[in-house]
Each structure stands twice: as structure tokens, then as C-alpha cells.
Amino acid sequence: MDPLTDLSLLDYLHDAVVASLDWQTSEPKRRHFRLDITVDSEAGYPPWNGRHLLVTLCEVAISRAMIYGLQSAPCRIDTIHNGISTELLLECKRLQSIGIEVPALQFTWVFGDGTILEVVCGQIFVQVESRAD
């Protein structure tokens, strides 16, 4: 599986339903986030429309989240912005200043329920599983 190179495709994840967000720590030297999502059938990108995807944010260097759990409607992705907050950027710079290499991908995932996840990671992999219905 190749990493996702056209990151603008992430815009088509608007309204994708998030079944789970796993923090994977089983590999000895790398940690990942894995999102199990179902893309909206009207997403606008045919290869993903209505599909079940596993999105892996590989080699997470640093992340920060504000998660709201007291809700009963499905959790959906609202938008994914390039970039992170000033506070997290400063933390990246601090790590870099002591010689730690920080990867280049910086995203803020905004969910429809108000949850916000900032991630700095090395690569993104998208595995298309099946048609949701």
C-alpha cells in the first residue's frame, strides 16, 4: 500500500462517519492513529463514495485533542485543515531545538461534534475496505 500523496483528497472525508479512533502503540519504534471510517455516499470522490476506509496516520510525533463525549449522534468528520495551533507548533520547535526530528505533515482534524484533533505525523495511508452498504 502506498502512502497518500494527494492530501487534498482528505477534503472528501467531510461527513464521513467515524466508528473508532485507535492509538496504536504495538510497534516498538512507531506509534500511529488509525481511524475506521465510512465515507459519505455523496462525498464527491467516486473511489471513496460510500466506502469503508481505514485511515492510518503513521509515525505520529505529537498530537493534541479536545474530545467531547457526551453526545449520542454519530461522530462525523467536518473538515481537515493543514496546519496546527501555535501552541503545538511551539512544542514542535522545542523538540527540534533538542535534536528531535519532527515530520512534516501537520493537520487539524475537526469533527462535527466539536472534537478537534491536531496531529503531526510522517505519512498517511488509506486502505479502501468495502462498500459500506
Partner: protein, 163 residues
Amino acid sequence: MVTDAIPEDTSGRLPRCGGFGLRFATRAERRRAAGRSAEAQFGRGSGAKAQRELTAAEKLEFDGLVTLGAEQKAASTRGMNGRILSVAEQAEFAGFGRRAQRLGFIESPFRTGSWGRMEGNTYHEVTRIDVAEVGKPGWRGQTHIHIEGNPSHLDPLTPLPGE
């Protein structure tokens, strides 16, 4: 007179300012002042709550990095990564909000534009407006609404349950 126009003086010493009695508020002082202001407005104990609920833009103002105008304050959002709304976007959210409010729905405590009801301690979304983000493809680039039980993206004028 306390001002935060210049980066804070962490030493707490009074700088020489030509005898006007001018000194710079420390960050801690600004934080305490914001808490007092919130308590004066919303009641005792609300200071800390108000601090937790600041939007990203408000946080910048709180830290003395920017000064928001009244229009920007009104246009800031909750749970949208500090998105600041234009006047037109604000009108879309407000118009939808008025309709939802008339039907007895409450706005989500977590996200601007989401309306529903509290079921005990849990918020249940019934309807939501997604106002277009300029330059985004697909549905994120088009204003639409969602109504519970209807999987499609709907025209914003679609009647809400009860309309």
C-alpha cells in the same frame, strides 16, 4: 493604568514610563482580570468556566496577542477550530439558528450550528448546518443542512422536523 499593549513584564517590576504610573499587566494578572470580568457578567464561579470555553481567537486575545473587535467576537465559533465567520456566513448560521430555536431545539454546547436536545447529561443532535468553506471541494464547499434520520445533504431551506 494597566495595559497589555507591550509583551508582558514577567519580572513584575515597574518600568520607567515618564511618571504616568504605567505598568504592564503580567499574564497571570490578565487571566485573573478575565476571570473577574466573567464572574461579574455571569455570576460567581463562572470565571474558570468562561476560560475553558474560549475560542481559539478569543484565546489569542486573552493572551494579549490580538485585540478582537466586537464583530469578530460575535463571529467566532465553537468546536470549529477557531473558525471566524464572515458577515454572510454569520447570517447563515443565525438564520438557521432562529428556525431551530423556534422549534424548541437548543444549540450544541460543543459546536456552532448544531441544534438538538439534551437527554439527561447527553446532547443529541437533531439538525445541523454546515456553512460552506471557500475553496473546499465536495459538500464542504457548499452550504447544506443535515436532519436526523435523513442521510442526504439537504438544501438549507428544507423544512426542519416540526416546521
